[in-house]
Symmetry: C2
Subunit: 179 residues, 2 copies
């Protein structure tokens, strides 16, 4: 952020009075521009013992596989956001089920929220952000070409728990990989 | 939003190519300024059969009671945010416990995340955003002077469930009150 979105003046980065963190503050109109984490919301769409994955047609991770998910929009609920992303990316209709996982990604200021969901029919096809959409059984999951660690971790747990017959909720944190 | 925070030019509100919702777009540098829901994170700090509430020293709802909570910051996890708010507002140290409730507030673009927590000691006192901090048993909760519906609903449920000996997770939505 360089300019005030309210009046167009250059902003400065400093700690406001009574605050503890530096914020972008307008030297002209005084507006404090807070920046906060974003929510990414999605689901694991289930059909019998298989789940639906999408192959990404967009960057980052073009060509790799993921569950339907994306940034939550203003004026919607978490469940509405997860259903919208599933419709946009896979043209798939679901009954949203229980909350399955929440992952913090503090190094990129995101919180990922993942539900389980029941596919209502097999009438799915790629949306414009997907190259392909397919159902995968556990043995067929493309573990080596999954797009994100924040997908791999809950999917590993999902199949482990399913084998043990007890699917539960989990909260985790994905840390930055140091190079 | 009126001006581009990247280059200071006036923005226009329109649907970008391939998108479905209007966004603020810079006519000069082309940056699309997405706006997304914010996370409010807090906890119910427990000490034996009582819980800690804070009386707000700031607007909105100055003088009314609430649990320690506030906007999640960049670079922190949900649990870290809830603990930070508890320290800031009540100078109280807690062991963060299980996730207790998530509430969607789509009419103000917020998602509230509430944990249960164990107070580590009774050495709490008001932070600068609080007029008072006190422990309340169920019979003493100031139901008529609670600051927000998004606090009242989970606290009602909390005491109901506690009486039944089964505290669980709940997801809900608070809708705008039509006048």
């Amino acid at each position: 952020m360089k300019y005030c979105s309210n009046c167009g003046t250059l902003v400065e980065l400093r700690v406001p009075e009574g605050d503890t963190l530096p914020r972008y503050i307008c030297s002209e109109c005084g507006v404090i521009h807070y920046q906060n984490p974003k929510i990414v919301v999605g689901c694991i769409p289930e059909w019998e013992d298989r789940i639906l994955l999408c192959r990404r047609a967009i960057d980052p991770r073009h060509g790799l596989w993921t569950v339907p998910s994306g940034f939550m929009e203003n004026a919607e609920t978490l469940v509405q956001g997860a259903a919208r992303e599933t419709l946009e990316e896979a043209n798939a209709r679901v009954n949203m089920g229980p909350l399955y996982a929440i992952y913090n990604l503090p190094y990129i200021n995101q919180v990922h929220v993942l539900f389980r969901a029941q596919l209502l029919d097999l009438d799915f096809k790629p949306g414009i952000e997907s190259l392909d959409v397919q159902l995968f059984g556990e043995a067929e999951i493309p573990w080596d070409t999954l797009a994100f660690r924040v997908i791999r971790e809950p999917l590993k747990r999902y199949f482990d728990e399913r084998r043990q017959g007890k699917l539960g909720f989990h909260m985790g944190t994905i840390e930055e990989v140091r190079k």
